[in-house]
Symmetry: C3
């Protein structure tokens, strides 16, 4: 469910960075009871001339577009905690390296969301717990 | 209108696969009265290390992000039928090859949507029928 | 805030085109009081076989996905003016070259949006004016 797209210039992150960022993001969600395999991270690299901020090529800028489907964030405080948590997850690879970044999280309704053709179980259900354990989509009784 | 972005590792789909997937998706919408040229499919390939699921590089995973603008899906049943239809369209290239996939459809309001600078005609209007026939955007009387 | 993603085949835009398009888009927003550095433009190029319209590879088609976070467009007229302004900004590089294009603007709630870890100031506030002047995110009293 959470889908995180990172837009950067080439070489901003190494393969090891990408793995670490995605592991740290994944941990945030598994700590909140979600299956690990819900957490998808995609790094999209474009040439230096193809990522521009205020009209200037900006190879030291990281734009993150996150989408949440499995859980809603009912309050402003909840939303701030979530975006802070994501930023903390990638901070060692972004903030602590002096890069600039921008992020927003979109809340997408879950009613058109499928994993391997299956409607993902509702939050906190037994079926969701089975998905956590198996770490993959399983058929279940709706 | 429908915009379908497929995120994959390199080489998951051949050029012929991409054409077939987009043709099959297009047929789903033209069967529902939409102009063929509304159906845009974009394949975004990232290196194996840049698409991660649950913290692991996942070159056999396909993430589809779909957006609908021309039609709304008023009920849950309608939404399920739509996502099922999309999954059926790409099943021969994804499910039947043993790949994992995830999809969601976003409904985007049509009031900021233009094709070649023109506000697309409302569903079922004569103007829309002309667009179907011409298979391109035409000026029309609002 | 405004995030503009341009999906094209390779070579549709030169580096100079990309700079000019992003400068012209930036000017639209700075004319409306926004900080220049809010305007992010990302060009995503995919091979000719990977951008398809109605089932056909379409290397002369430009798909723009825009997102607004800092300002809302309260009326239909406002929305039309905005999308027209964006189209005018890239017209010399798209319409005037005989390319086809499609655009929509998504309005994304600002309550999960951070720049360098900071909640962006509300429209028209003194803090926002400071951001305009500095052209970067600054800590401020909420």
């Amino acid at each position: 469910m959470p889908l995180h797209r990172f837009y950067t210039a080439p070489g901003v992150f190494t393969a090891a960075d990408k793995k670490a960022i995605s592991e740290r993001l994944t941990k945030h969600y598994t700590n909140n009871g979600l299956p690990a395999f819900y957490v998808v991270v995609i790094f999209l690299e474009v040439p230096d001339d193809s990522i521009l901020v205020g009209g200037e090529p900006s190879p030291k800028f990281v734009r993150v577009v996150s989408q949440h489907l499995a859980r809603t964030m009912p309050t402003y405080e909840h939303k701030q905690r979530s975006v802070n948590a994501l930023e903390a997850a990638f901070a060692p690879y972004v903030k602590e390296r002096g890069l600039d970044w921008e992020i927003h999280i979109e809340e997408v309704p879950r009613d058109t969301w499928h994993l391997n053709g299956i409607v993902p179980p509702m939050p906190g259900t037994d079926a969701e717990k089975e998905w956590v354990k198996a770490n993959r989509a399983l058929e279940y009784q709706l």
